[in-house]
Symmetry: C2
Subunit: 218 residues, 2 copies
Amino acid sequence: MSRRERTERQILDALEAQIRETGMGGVGVNAIANRAGVSKELIYRYFDGMPGLLLAWMQEQDFWTSHRDLLASGESSQQPPGALVLSMLRAQIEALGKNETLREVRRWELIELNDVTARLANRREKAARAFIDRIDGLTPDMDVPAVVSIMLAGVLYLMLRSKTESHFLGVPLRTDEGWQRLYAALEHIVRAFPSDLNQESLATLEARRKAATGPTKD
Amino acid sequence: MSRRERTERQILDALEAQIRETGMGGVGVNAIANRAGVSKELIYRYFDGMPGLLLAWMQEQDFWTSHRDLLASGESSQQPPGALVLSMLRAQIEALGKNETLREVRRWELIELNDVTARLANRREKAARAFIDRIDGLTPDMDVPAVVSIMLAGVLYLMLRSKTESHFLGVPLRTDEGWQRLYAALEHIVRAFPSDLNQESLATLEARRKAATGPTKD
DNA sequence: CAACTTTGTGACCGCATGGTCACATTTGGC
DNA sequence: GCCAAATGTGACCATGCGGTCACAAAGTTG
């Protein structure tokens, strides 16, 4: 590992730590450089400024983000639609629940509109469409994208909201108990899917529900 | 109207306009004072600084915000639980859909944690609990708060997300057509409620669905 | 009219930000 | 060893921020 690679690592790690601790609002050249113990000039020289640094960091995240995505979508191609949806929702809960940095980025995506967020939005929507299209055909007389949108969006909102509020409609957002209730609610909704959820697949998922995990402070 | 009241109005209106156009990120003493065409000193003198100004502005909003809440919860105390939930969701969609400022504030509530946001959270959760508690008892063997949390949170997320992304899972977030699909999805979910939605109440709601409205740019 | 209060203004301060530059130090090839 | 490229640093600049202050103009009360 060259000397340069080492300091680039320091900078990237500092970015991650800064996002986690202060949110995207506290991200700037000075803060990152100080935290990395390095001169800010290097951020411009090696990454061409903050946008470039963010892009570079994103690309690293993509690595195992898309890894997760592939896992979630590939693991069970033969399951009924409802089970697929539940797996995907569970994957989202787990991925977001144990990664405060990820949650901060997604909060940021809600308010900021620029090159970086646009790129993130594109990539996400592309992957999401690929997932939903495989299910949509199998379930006529039901607007699958719309119903799943509500469920997924609900999970996302509650994940993000857990930072500033401990409960939502009385449901705790910072305990595993609360998230088990929410996951059970998702099951309840999916159970209304037309031709779906035979006994075996539901039993499989039920076993995994016990391990449901909400947001942690790292 | 005294001279002071007039300039206080100018400041409050400037705050609202600033929030709508730039989001809470662009809110500051200098920006507000300039937009109001007034010296920033007056913000400190009359409102004791930005937090006080925000509080004062919030209190005005409370006026018809709580008004709406009362309407939504009082209009139909005798309807079945599912219909009540649908009414409440519809009210949320309408209130948020036509008020970009409100959406910006709620985005802000997701990232910032301070006196003002804490107060907002308290008030909201209090009202929400009052609503959900009236329904919860009526519907055993189902975790009503959890299911409604998913639906309401889903609506909120998609409302907020419409600023930076035009689609979610392929569903358009900036057209009435998209929001009619989403509202229909909510109906679909509610239909799975235990003892619920006789023909009349559903027909009533169906008629109103035609008027579903998504976010507008004001 | 005179004295006093309210209302409003613009200048000023300290501070942090993003960005650039000149200059040291280190590394690696000839 | 020697020179050039790579790596790193600290100082510096303009700008915008929140906040305060002295002072002017407009109203009000005696």
